[in-house]
Structures are given as C-alpha cells and as structure tokens.
C-alpha cells in the first residue's frame, strides 16, 4: 500500500519541491495551504506523516498539531515540523506539543527524505 503524506505550507514554491520529491518516493501526496485546509483533508484521509509549517495564516502549525493529537483516528500519524523557526525555545515548544520530529528550513531534500523514511520504518 502506498504511503500517504500531507504537506502543509503556504509557500507555493516550497510546496512544489516537496510534492515532486515525495511523489518520486512513491508517496500519495496531499497538499494544504494552511492549518484549516489541512484539518479538512485529515477528516477524509489518514496520512502516515504530516509535514507541517508553523507560520501560516489563519490556523498555524501549533494549533494544527494540537488538533491532530486530539483526534483518535490520527494516533498513528506522525507529525514533522518543517519550519524556518530554529530557536532552541521554538524547537522545545514544538517537541513538547508532541511533534515526532522538528526539521528546519532551509533543508536538504535528501536529508529530509531519509529523516521521514527513518521515522516511518
């Protein structure tokens, strides 16, 4: 069965690169431009992993993560923050909220893929 990934980011160019990368890794890719769109998609799909930006309009990454953690059907879904916020306090906050990994932008595509694969192994 194909693995599913949900990419949540409001920067179209970044989303485009991520989409190309994970499609090549044989993922089924879902795309959301902010937290509210992501939560909408999660009502119908249960991805293996969610790649989550933090700074987004309307519903941000933190709120989205909380919602995911509060949803029973998503208890097996891994959440990975992918964000430009790289202060120690930000990282701590993100992990405390229950993110499985905290990755920072700009990122290396290869490394990102291996991190996600490791997480799903």
């Amino acid at each position: 069965m194909k693995k599913k990934i949900l990419i949540v980011d409001d920067e179209p160019n970044i989303v485009m690169s991520l989409e190309y990368t994970f499609k090549k890794q044989d993922f089924e890719v879902f795309i959301a431009r902010d937290g509210s769109e992501a939560l909408e998609i999660l009502k119908h799909h249960i991805p293996n992993v969610v790649l989550l930006d933090i700074m987004m309009p309307n519903v941000d990454g933190y709120q989205t993560l909380k919602q995911i953690k509060n949803t029973d059907s998503l208890k097996d879904t891994k959440v990975v923050f992918l964000t430009a916020k790289n202060k120690a306090s930000d990282i701590e906050k993100g992990l405390k909220l229950g993110a499985d990994k905290y990755l920072t932008k700009p990122f290396s595509v290869k490394k990102l893929v291996s991190e996600i694969m490791e997480l799903l192994a």
Binding site: I14, S17, Y20, K24
Partner: protein, 900 residues
C-alpha cells in the same frame, strides 16, 4: 489722740489684716478668695496714699489736674481683655514671677535686661514707697496729740516701726513658697479688704464733709465760685495744658500695666482670665467713686482753712477741726490701708525681682549648683526676705533724708515717669517680633538718663540746695539744656516734659536698634512666642530652635537641687508621659530643656533658669539663617505639606511615566527581536525555495521532465527576485526608522510623478487586466523627494492591483489641494480593508487575519515603509473609513516644502 492709743489701734488693725491673710492662705480654694471682686479690689492697690491724700492737695492747688492719673487706667481697662489677657497667658505658661522676668524672657532670657528692668523698677518704686511712709508719718503726727514732740532719732520714730511691721507682714506672707510665680492669696485677700476699707472710709468722709459740714455739693460750689482763682481751678488752660493732660493720661495708662505692684496683682495673682471681664468695668467704677468727692473735699478745706499748705490732709484736718476724732481715725485707717497694700505688694514684687533678676543670676548660681535642695529653697527664701527688709528700710531712709520736703504728688509722678521707660520694650515687644534686646536695653538706658537729667536731678538739687540755678540756667548755662525746657520746649509741666523727651528718645532708640540689629536665635524664638501667643505653646513645645546635647540625668540633677528629688522625678514623669517618651530616655531634647527652664523660672527667674540649664547642656550655636529657616518652616508647615503632597504626586506621575517608558523600551526591545525574527523568517523562505529546487535540479540520477525543470528554474528566479526586493525593503525601512535616510527634496510636479508611478506598474496591471485611471489634468509643483514619493505611489498601486479582481479591477488616482497641503488618494474596487485592520495595516509584517489564503508576494514591509516616507515629509497616511466596495488609501504632503 494719745500716741500710744494710736499705736494700739495700728497694731490691732495690722493683726486683723494678718488674720485675714492667714485665713485666705488656709482656705486657698474658697470662693471668698477666688472671685472677680477680690481680683478687681486687688487692682485697686493702684489707689495708694497718693490717691487718698495727694489728689486733694492737687485739687486744692491746681483744680482738676488730679484727674488724668485716673483717666489713663480708665482708658486702659477695656483694652485689658486683649492686652492683659495675652500677658497673663504668657506669664502663666512661662511661670513668670515679675515684670522684669517678663521683659527679659521676651528678649530671649536676657540676663542684663532683667537686671536693668529691676534697677529701673527699684528707682521708680523706692521713692514711691518712701512717699507712703511719709504719708504714714505725717498723718500719724496730725492724729497724735504730741505735736510738740518731733523726734529726729530713728529709734524714736514710730514710722520706722510701722515700716518694720510691714516688712514682717510682706516677708511672712510673701515668701511662703520658693516659687514666686505661685499665688499669694493671703496678701491679695488683705489687699482687697484694705481696698474696701479705704474706699468706704473715703466716701464716708466725703459725705460727712459735703453734706454734714456743708450743705451739699452746690453749697460748696457756690461758696467757692467767689474765690479769685475759681475759673482757673475748674477749666483747662488752653492747648499747652491740653498737652500736659495728654501726657499725664498716657503716663498713667502705662503705669497701670507697668508698675511692679500692678503687674503683680493684675497678672501674677490672676486666677482666672474671665475675672478680667468683671474687672474692666468694676475697676473704672471704683476709680470713679474714689474721685467723686475729691474736688468738694478740696474746696471745703480751702473754704475752711483759707490756706492750701496742708491741703493733702484736709480729710483728717476737717473732722479733727470739728472735734470728730472718731471719723479722723477712720480716715487715718483708710489711708493706712492704702499705704499698707501699696507697700506690701510693691515690696513683694520688688523683692522677687531683686532676688530672681539681680542677686541670683549675678552671684548665687554657683552656690546653688553645689547645695542640697532644702538649703537652696531656704537660701532663695532668705534672699527674698532680706530683700523685702532692705527695700523697706532703704525706702524709710530715703524718706527720712529726702522726701520730707517733697509733695506726695511730685514723688508719685517721678515714679511714673521712671517706670514708663519700660513701655516701648514691653508694649511694642508684645506685638512686634522684630523688637530686639539690644534695642530694649538701649531705649531704657537712654530714656532713664533723660528722666534723670530732666526730672530727678533738678528735683533733687532743688530739694537739697534750695536754689533753682540748675533749672533756670541749664547745664553749664546752655539754655537749650535747661532740664525743664529741653530744646526749647518750655510749655510742659516738668513731669510731662520729662515724659515727652524720655519717651521720644526711648522709642527712637528702640525702633532704630530693632530695625538695624537682629537678636540671636533664642531671642527671635521668644519674640515669636510672645507676639503670636496663640501658637506659642506649640512653638514652645516643639522648641524649634535648639541644637545641642544634654543628658536627662544632668538636667534632673539641676532640677533636684531646687525642687527636691520627689518633685523633680514627678515632673519628669509627667513630661515623659505627656510626650509619650520612654521613662528611661537618656538624651534630653529641646522640649525637655524648655520644660526644665520653665520649672525653675518660678524659683530663680527665667534668666537664672536658662543659665543653670545651660550649664549642663552642650548647646551649639545656630546661625540666624538656620533659625529663620526653621521658623519659616513651622509657619509654612501647612503650605509645605501641600507642596510636599504636590511633589509626591509629581513623583508618582513621574514614576508611572518612567514605568511606561521602561515598558515601552522593553516592548521596543521585544519588537526589535520580533522584527529580526520576522526578517530572518522572511529571508529564509525564498532561500528554502531556491535551495530545494536547486538540489532537485542537480540530481543527475533523476530524469526530471523538461517542463518540470523549467518550472523549478522559474521558481528559483522568482525567489531570487523576492530575496532582492526583501533585502532592499529591509534596508530602506531600517534607514527610515533610525532616521538615517535623508530625503532629497526637489521642486517637482505631482502630476508627472503620478504618471511615472502608473507607468511603472502598468505591466502588472495590464497582465491582470486592471484599469488604472489618472483623472488629474492640472500640473502642480511642490517640494518633495520624487524617488520616495514614487516609491509610495508604486507601493500603493501594486497593493491595489494585488487586491483587485482581474478584469473588473479599477484603480483611480486623485489629488486635491487645500488646508496647506496636497492630498493624494489611491482608490480601488477590490475586496477592501476590514475596519478593524485600519490601524494596523501600516505596521511592519502585519498580515490581516482576513487575508487571502494565498500569500501575496510582499515583503510585509511595503506599507510600513510608505508610512515612514510620508511622515518624513511631515505628512499623514491613512485608510479612508466607510469605503464600500474597495479601499481608498490617502496621503498628504504639506505645502511648507513648496519652493516659491
């Protein structure tokens, strides 16, 4: 009457007085002793033998000239309620025991001043007492049968024994207590009794003479009107006589306050201030009654005897002449009463002054410090007793060797004029705080010298030498120095003349020295207390002006010497309780110093008390400036409290402002952090895009479709552009915000600038099929930085395009003039700006919550930079409120940059 019978009568009468005084001392609290009538009657000590006998002599010789001596007190009486009450209050507070004490305290416990006042009082009172003794002696002679026997030996003179008896009386009842400020109820009761007797007996003899010997007042008047000098006797003699009257009234006005015996009875022996209320009308009434028959007795005597040689004793001679020795004896006793009361009260007052202001401060203080308390008390009492005897004996010898030849009236007036020298220091000092001790001393000495020259000296020379060379020719024959006509003033009677000149110079000295010299701090403090007697208790208690160091134990030691262990301890306990101080307080404060001085003042006088306490106190000199500052502070306490409150309010405000500023600083810091965070984030975003795309393109193993490659390359280009724009904007913004960006002002046409701006965005507009309209046709030149305003317009226009719907979008640029400025607006028909965002859209990196989910390709700094540029032009920028279907952004540039 037999000599011995008379002596027996005198002794019996004195025994009665002793008994009355004794009773009053035993029943001190009785209503019979403490009432306004006794107080008023004690004031009548004013009516001495001078009044009793002397007035009639004057009336017979010069008519109604005896009256001014009583008019002065009558005028003074209503003022007592103000002046005397103040004096009484101050005296009670400070335990003052004499007028010398009072004046010396007013001028800062000045020891010399107290002594000077004492000496003046001695000079003023001794002849006065001798005058009384003269009256006793002469009336005794008239009353006794043995007129042939005139003894010159003291030992045979009954007057001497009378004087001694009076001294014993005064010494016994006057020195019951060490504290001279304590009341002498026995003496006062006897004085009151005597006042009743002398008035009643005088009235009896008046009625007897007028209605029994003559047929009433009109009978005497009619018979008298035949006399040659009648007119002169009943009228005032023109302006000059008027002056004499004026000065005599002024003189007696002062005397009623200043005579030591008057000060004693009216101030020191006053029990309750409210007694004054009765005294102010009862006392004038008493004086009036005393004077009713004077003129008729004088005339009756004149009509009966023809000559006025013995006019002073008409009251005795008339009944004796008619064989009524009983009435004569009554009159004699009345006169004797007047003498006794005057002599005893005067001696008492003088002895207190002599001991407290002369002997103790100038000779005995050292002794007192070493002595035991009981011995000290004994010592003080003995000093007073010896003083009493000395005063009376000196007065007696003064009489024997001096005043036998002089009239009662003349001696009385000399006394008045001498005592009057205290007036400026006393009266002005009560109401004027500038009056200084130096001024008081100078005034008194100068005044006294003038009195001596113009009155005492000629009087004495005339009495001794029997010639009037001195008065006729003046000193060394200089006519303007004639003692009775100094500087050519020759129309006044000698006493009025002496009074006029002495008072003039006394007053001048007092005022001049007061105005030119300032007293020391102590003096100023007491002056303040006396003048402002309502507040003086607070002034005293807070004892503002004292700086020094003293131990309670030392002060207690001094107190014990005079009060005894028990009283001293009790007094200190009361003091500590009153001021809520611990009983074991070690260091004395200013209040204790003042309290202790006050405690001792009654026993040894204020000057001595000060010296004694000062001996155990290390007092530092305080500069006058300090004192004045402190006084000022106390006066303006309320004011300064207010100022303090204001200051504190100010401070509160200031601190809250400071808090705000601090908050602002913190928030600025935080903002700066946030700004940097945001900038980093904004920069990272395109870099992330570039990095990811580049990595994908570089992967040789991956054969990416061609169109995909093109897309990624395009993305890289886009992100690079974004990065460049972002960096420029950040630099611009930073420059503007820190004020490092200088505008390049120039004389530009706004119409041209708008056109340029529109053409720069025309490509995007065309692409989105949005219409941009410029309605303006007129050119208008004004002063601004064209590049920057172009940046503003471009920014606003691209924002407008961004929010406009493709194809139907329409943007209008307008400008109008007015209000000293040009107002430019950019209006679009896009989705508009929610009202709640209006205040924030110009904040850096602000993103509306209502913003489109697709992030516009802005730096987030555009409007912030725009706002900065407009503000640099002193203009304003805002989003117009209430615009439907779209948004209107307006900015202004003031004309003050217009180049003319």
């Amino acid at each position: 009457m037999n000599n011995y019978a008379l002596i027996v009568i005198i002794i019996i009468y004195l025994a009665v007085l002793f008994y009355i005084a004794f009773l009053a001392e035993r029943k001190k609290q009785s209503k019979w002793v403490n009432n306004p009538y006794v107080y008023t009657l004690s004031l009548a000590v004013f009516c001495s033998a001078w009044t009793y006998y002397g007035s009639i002599g004057i009336a017979a010789n010069t008519g109604i000239n005896f009256l001014p001596i009583y008019l002065g007190p009558v005028i003074a009486a209503p003022l007592w309620i103000i002046v005397l009450r103040k004096i009484i209050r101050i005296s009670k507070q400070h335990k003052i025991s004499s007028i010398a004490d009072f004046i010396s305290l007013r001028y800062g416990n000045n020891r010399f001043l107290g002594a000077l006042v004492t000496i003046i009082c001695l000079f003023g009172t001794l002849p006065y007492i001798s005058l009384q003794l003269k009256a006793v002696s002469e009336t005794f002679e008239i009353m006794s049968d043995d007129t042939s026997y005139i003894s010159t030996a003291v030992i045979d003179d009954s007057t001497f024994y009378v004087a001694l008896l009076l001294a014993i009386f005064a010494a016994f009842f006057g020195t019951q207590k060490t504290d001279a400020s304590e009341k002498h109820k026995g003496i006062i009761a006897s004085v009151a009794f005597e006042s009743v007797l002398k008035l009643v007996f005088f009235l009896i003899i008046g009625v007897y003479i007028t209605f029994y010997l003559f047929d009433g007042t009109s009978d005497i008047y009619n018979k008298m009107s035949d006399a040659e000098n009648f007119k002169q006797l009943t009228t005032l003699g023109g302006v000059e006589e008027g002056f004499n009257w004026f000065f005599m009234i002024a003189l007696s006005f002062m005397a009623i306050f200043l005579l030591p015996r008057q000060f004693q009875v009216s101030v020191l022996e006053n029990n309750r201030e409210k007694h004054l209320k009765k005294a102010i009308w009862l006392f004038p009434l008493y004086l009036l009654l005393f004077n009713v028959f004077v003129i008729f007795i004088a005339w009756a005597g004149k009509l009966t005897f023809g000559s006025t040689q013995n006019a002073e004793y008409y009251t005795l001679l008339l009944p004796l002449n008619n064989g009524n020795s009983f009435l004569a004896t009554l009159v004699f006793l009345g006169g004797f009463s007047a003498v006794i009361s005057m002599v005893i009260v005067s001696t008492l007052a003088l002895s207190t002054m002599v001991s407290n202001n002369l002997i103790i401060p100038y000779g005995f203080l050292d002794k007192f410090i070493k002595n035991q308390p009981e011995r000290n008390s004994k010592y003080i009492k003995n000093i007073r007793r010896i003083s009493i005897f000395t005063i009376i004996i000196v007065a007696y010898f003064f009489y024997v060797s001096f005043s036998r030849e002089l009239s009662l009236y003349a001696i009385g007036l000399i006394s008045f004029v001498i005592i009057a020298q205290l007036a400026p220091a006393f009266f002005i000092g009560l109401f004027w705080n500038r009056g200084s001790s130096k001024a008081a001393i100078t005034g008194m000495i100068v005044g006294f010298c003038i009195v001596f020259y113009t009155l005492v000296l000629p009087f004495t020379l005339q009495a001794y030498t029997g010639t009037d060379d001195f008065t006729q020719n003046g000193l060394l024959g200089i006519s303007i120095l004639k003692p009775y006509a100094l500087f050519g003033i020759d129309f006044l009677s000698p006493p009025a003349h002496a009074f006029f000149w002495s008072m003039t110079f006394n007053l001048l000295c007092y005022l001049t020295f007061s105005l030119t010299s300032k007293g020391n701090y102590r003096e100023r403090n007491y002056a303040e207390m006396f003048v402002d007697s309502r507040n003086f208790s607070t002034l005293q208690d807070s004892a503002l002006v004292w700086k020094g160091e003293a131990y309670v134990a030392d002060i207690k030691n001094v107190l014990v010497r005079f009060l005894g262990e028990k009283r001293a301890t009790r007094a200190l306990n009361i003091f500590f309780t009153k001021y809520k101080l611990p009983q074991d307080t070690q260091l004395a404060d200013a209040r204790l110093i003042n309290f202790s001085e006050k405690l001792l003042t009654g026993s040894i006088g204020s000057a001595s008390a000060k010296i004694l306490i000062a001996s155990v106190v290390k007092e530092e000199q305080i500069s006058l400036v300090e004192v004045l500052k402190i006084l000022e502070e106390s006066k303006e306490n309320i004011v300064s409290n207010k100022v303090l409150l204001e200051k504190s309010n100010e401070l509160t405000q200031l601190s809250s402002k400071l808090k705000d500023v601090n908050q602002e600083l913190i928030s600025k810091d935080k903002q700066k952090d946030e700004f940097l965070d945001t900038v980093a984030h904004e920069l990272k975003t395109p870099i992330t895009g570039i990095r990811a795309a580049t990595e994908l393109l570089m992967d040789e193993e991956d054969d990416m479709p061609k169109e995909m490659k093109a897309q990624f390359l395009k993305n890289i280009l886009q992100d690079s552009d974004r990065l460049g724009r972002l960096i420029n904007n950040i630099l611009d913004f930073e420059k503007l915000e820190t004020g490092r960006l200088n505008l390049d002002f120039g004389y530009n046409d706004i119409q041209k600038t708008i056109t340029k701006a529109i053409s720069s965005i025309s490509q995007i507009a065309v692409k989105k099929e949005v219409k941009v309209i410029n309605n303006n046709v007129h050119t208008f030149k004004t002063n601004y930085d064209e590049d920057r305003i172009l940046q503003v317009l471009t920014n606003l226009l691209s924002n407008a395009i961004k929010f406009c719907t493709p194809k139907t979008g329409k943007i209008t640029v307008d400008y109008k003039l007015g209000n000293e400025r040009i107002e430019i607006s950019v209006t679009d028909n896009g989705k508009g700006i929610p009202e709640e965002d209006h205040d924030y859209i110009f904040d850096k990196f602000y993103q509306s919550k209502h913003q489109n989910t697709i992030k516009p390709q802005g730096s987030g700094l555009g409007l912030a930079i725009t706002k900065q540029i407009i503000e640099k032009h002193n203009g304003e920028i805002w989003a117009k409120k209430g615009v439907k279907n779209g948004a209107t952004l307006v900015f202004t540039i003031p004309f003050k940059y217009i180049v003319t």
